[in-house]
Symmetry: D2
Subunit: 403 residues, 4 copies
């Protein structure tokens, strides 16, 4: 095997749906020397991260638990806090990520019920409703929902799911994984009635991977208190103890916290609404290009429902060429890192991530490189894809103007 | 409460036993932009970290599992891999950290047997021997040993413990937590017959907190395979699957891995033997000062057995003044962060960390600040403490000369 | 006036012809703590920078003088070393930069003769030949040539100029300013018979502004020795003294040297030939787009001679819209910094810099943003500009493939 | 020659009187990507640096000129702006630096008159007074004064010098080089009647080397306007033109400006008075140690007048051991970089720099390392040097307490 290159001239563009580009200010904060646990700056840092996450999650009420973990670890954290072996959760099927989450949940000894899965479509709230109605014994502890499944690039409708749950009167908690949507798509934990939210650092929050967190409201905390499942590292009760560094069950990941605090500060400076509008705009620009490309008939969105297309990432199915080859050419010839197809999509699909710390020319450089890659692989894409993207930016970018 | 200062002139010296000072080269590596999972640099990075850790652990044979976690998480990882609820482990009592580890183990449903604890003394290998002999049913799955307990600053004798275990013929695994001793004190996983080793990034490995790892030999892997305990994130079997980024059960903490790789490179460049000799030398210098100070009768080592005094940290008990006040004065007047007494030592003890990326004037600046702090609090320390430290450096530092 | 924004989401693309994008590795090196003058690392650093610059300049013989200065300072340095007040130099007119250099030279009391200037055309070697032939008294000390004048984006033919000079038998030195062409366009100081070369850090050398340098061969050094002009800071003789840090007439700019050393290391790693080929390729891509845009009749190259178009920067004249407005829209709407028209080109011209640490998607993102900007300002540019650029990259980029 | 080490464990302490330790926040700012000249952030950056320097210089009235240059370049800048070849300046002799400045001035064709030099003593104001009185033709254009000459570590009394000049009624300008004293010792440009001040980035201003600046009041600007000396790069008139980036005669050193702006922000945050008090305190601590060491009779201050001892640096003469050997041992054994003897002091003297971004343990670590070095070289220093330094810090450091 040849050695990886020690240096690329210029920047490699990172268009996975996470990890994403990290702003220099965040990296600078991470690179501050660590502190001892009694340093007078540590408690305010932890408090700032917690209140900052509440701001981004739009919750006043939830307890925030930040873990040295990745997102998969958080899945385990939520399960061991909410459900004991033998108990049940309902997993709303969205594809790759809901399947993984279900597998993990089963590995923890918890019984999983899944809604039926329809490729290319968001979660059908009535499926959840039906499953809860069928659970007359109220054995289902929680409904697990992946807000944006990055394999299909589909965002499901959380308020509609909440309403469907409410219609049943079932006490199951609504647990939403917003790892791929937070700080990109609209999300309102309190207003939408989400009981537990899971997130991670390396996507819309513009940090390196290495931190994950969840927020739990009083109902969820109460369920956790009553839950006898064995746990320690993930346990919410222990993490609610003071002093604040105990919240991390051992050494806090303070450098990552320093980065998270700055990243949230960048979001506050830009304004969360502006951040969401920027993601909407860039997603529109990407979709405008894909709309043109797809007219040539050789590629198409995985997501069949336009309003459900994610603002974070776009999954594109291509005929006649391996999605992994597209990635390879884009990487080697254009220094653009695209994402691949996951699970059943492997080889059929490639994905363009468009979330996090992005500016217009980053998105345009990525789209141009995708055009070049597809052309070089003789995938028909017509002409005018990039022009369509520019049209979106020219129509709408006044919202992004720097005054 | 007053706001923490936004800027200290100059450097605050960090003399906790972890986190420790992080070299700029490590920070620079952490601050490289993240990669997508298919980036051609990711697999070699993971492989380099694994082989680098094997080098530092002195093992050819063990599997290495690197987690996005802190050290406490690793305790849970090891327990859920080795022991199912209802099974037994023997925890060798060393004080604060063995107690915490035992509590966590119990929280996972595993029964814990503890050896008796004697404050100020290392683990007595015969206590372990006796406990294993008494376990005629061979129910004890593993013996958990904290190599260096930083609360007492005592390093126990792992080879002697191994020999004691071997004398019994018991099949229990030897599990050693070397979080606070690795890359500071001598350690040889294979030669010493350690079956599972636990470590973390933020001490002798000179990285920020946020990574932890364990290494397990074939016997331990076999025990894990047979263990039915529920687990997913921590599970060794799943992490042994290819491709290599799957080893992290989700997104790898690649920025931290980039840092770890550079940190191990620094250790290799300096030479592991030289790193250990440097820790020995600086510990000798600190101990020379403490020897002088203690002659005035108001302070003393927690560790009663000189050869068991850690090369990483020194716990000092003081009469007539609160250890937390010492820390506060050292921090506010001298910008030196010392560690405090843990558990029963709280208030009675302060600790000087002296491990990781240190040079002579860092150690000397810390010792001088401790002298100044104790003088300002009217703790009798005689005179000549720092001179004694200098004497050690002048006698021995030829080993550290830069040619 | 409104405050400048404290944060832009994502990257602002820098497409001035200098300063240019600086690689992180260079920034990391600059951010190393400074050293005292006797530090054992300082002399090797200086020596490495000097030999690295010789490598990039393709000279074995020239003395290299590195200054804490910008490029304009170097103009003064060269003049005070080569010519005393009252002596003469011949300035080959290229437009803005040759005019500035001539003005500075006159301000130093040196008489300037200029060749005639023809907008849109490179230096005519026969004009230099004629001026030297006319100088029967051999009073002209040196011929000053700007290799690439970034105002017009024209690169003149240095070997042809050398041959023209040689035909006259005149002893005047050939002094070439390669600030904007070095490490982008082909240049061979020794083989091309250039006596003095001037360069700066912030263009093809991928460093921040703050360093400039010249290289002088033995003939030039001899002229300098005989020159009575008052000088100290710029004086070559004093800088030839040992020890090496004296070469800087006071404190060396060591952090910038650390950066320069790494930057040259990146060039060596990539290979100077590859660096030049990469610049050629990206220039071809930009030119392919401009070729298409210009067919609509509203914009055109300033440079009328295709082979003389710079690989570093492209100056584009536009009808009916202010070049400064183009820059403003590109910056505010697209976060792309373009360059403007200098001197007589102000308002008539905008410029796209395409040199230094660039990758394909950086260039493509810039071109797409220029397309979007021109479209939004209703400048006719036809369609297919970006496709043409992609065509160039798809045809030629095998040279850039990362194996 | 052996290769310099590629890595030192821990920090090398930098105790030259410049360059000095650079805070991370300053390095982070320097490492921001450069901007094009029209970037909306550039003008405010330049304005902030100018007003920040005025704040530190305590001037409301002076024009500030910032150069890409080192301090020696500034000497040339001031001379070519103020004096034409054949004119006269009076250089107040302070030793090494006044001699170098005088040599440079002569090299520019300007006639230099020097006051008599007395080793170990500050400038005698009456000598200046006498020289001006003797200049009945008022030919002396300016009096050049080095505020702190770091070779001797003596700070002269600028207000007394101003008063001596005023007594004569001579119109000569007072030109003060505060490179080594600014932001360390008290200085008030306007109140003290200084006409021109020279400074540089790499000392009390806590930046890397690479920037220098001068401030000139209206009288000095008027002298400059009337001065026919040839100049361009250094010329004040051209630099007074708008737009602001023209103030740099070519590309501004924007990364260094970014650093300077942050460094001045750190000074403002700490408070200039607090910065000066901190320097006074640390100088007192160093002097307390030297007082003790010198009682053993083998070493002594170069400066014979205690109140004239610099707060930035201390020059120490030692018997029986080469000052360069002291530096070598301190560097190799203790990783502390001390400064050496300059000019006639070479080998007789070593120097401890104690200015810039320092905290108590940095100073203490340096002093302890000096003690260890001197002990290892058998230089008698008695005992108690470091205790005396601690005594100073314990008595006085309440001023430095972080609340």
């Amino acid at each position: 095997m040849s050695q990886p290159p020690s240096h690329f001239p210029g920047l490699r563009f990172l268009h996975s749906p996470g990890p994403t580009h990290v702003p220099k200010a965040v990296m600078d904060a991470i690179a501050e020397q660590p502190m001892d646990m009694a340093d007078e700056r540590l408690d305010p840092l932890i408090a700032a991260c917690e209140s900052g996450l509440r701001h981004v999650l739009k919750t006043d009420r939830a307890e925030v638990f930040i873990y040295t973990s990745n997102g998969h670890g958080l899945w385990e954290a939520v399960t061991v806090n909410l459900a004991a072996p033998g108990q049940k959760v309902l997993v709303a099927s969205t594809g790759h990520f809901s399947d993984s989450w279900a597998s993990m949940t089963q590995a923890m000894g918890v019984e999983v019920i899944r809604t039926s899965y329809r490729e290319g479509y968001p979660i059908e709230p009535r499926d959840i409703e039906a499953a809860l109605v069928a659970d007359t014994a109220q054995e289902i502890v929680a409904v697990y929902v992946v807000h944006t499944d990055t394999a299909s690039s589909i965002t499901s409708d959380l308020p509609a799911i909440r309403q469907a749950m409410d219609r049943t009167g079932h006490r199951a908690l609504l647990v939403a994984d917003v790892v791929a949507s937070l700080a990109a798509a609209q999300f309102e934990m309190d207003a939408w009635g989400v009981d537990v939210t899971l997130g991670a650092s390396q996507k819309g929050l513009m940090c390196p991977p290495g931190l994950a967190f969840c927020a739990a409201n009083a109902r969820a905390i109460a369920v956790s208190k009553a839950n006898p499942a064995h746990r320690f590292y993930w346990d919410w009760q222990r993490r609610l103890e003071s002093p604040s560094y105990r919240k991390f069950c051992g050494t806090p990941p303070q450098n990552m916290l320093q980065g998270l605090n700055v990243a949230i500060g960048l979001i506050r400076t830009e304004g969360l609404d502006h951040v969401l509008a920027r993601h909407r705009l860039f997603a529109n620009a990407v979709h405008a290009a894909v709309d043109v490309w797809s007219q040539a008939g050789s590629l198409r969105y995985v997501c069949q429902v336009p309003p459900a297309r994610s603002v974070s990432v776009t999954s594109i199915e291509v005929d006649g060429v391996d999605g992994e080859l597209i990635r390879q050419v884009a990487r080697q010839r254009y220094n653009v890192a695209l994402a691949g197809g996951l699970g059943p999509f492997y080889g059929r699909v490639f994905r363009i991530g468009h979330l996090g710390d992005l500016s217009a020319p980053m998105v345009l450089g990525c789209l141009a490189a995708v055009e070049g890659t597809l052309q070089s692989l003789n995938v028909p894409i017509g002409s005018g894809g990039l022009d369509a993207a520019l049209g979106v930016l020219n129509d709408q970018s006044s919202a992004l103007t720097i005054d």
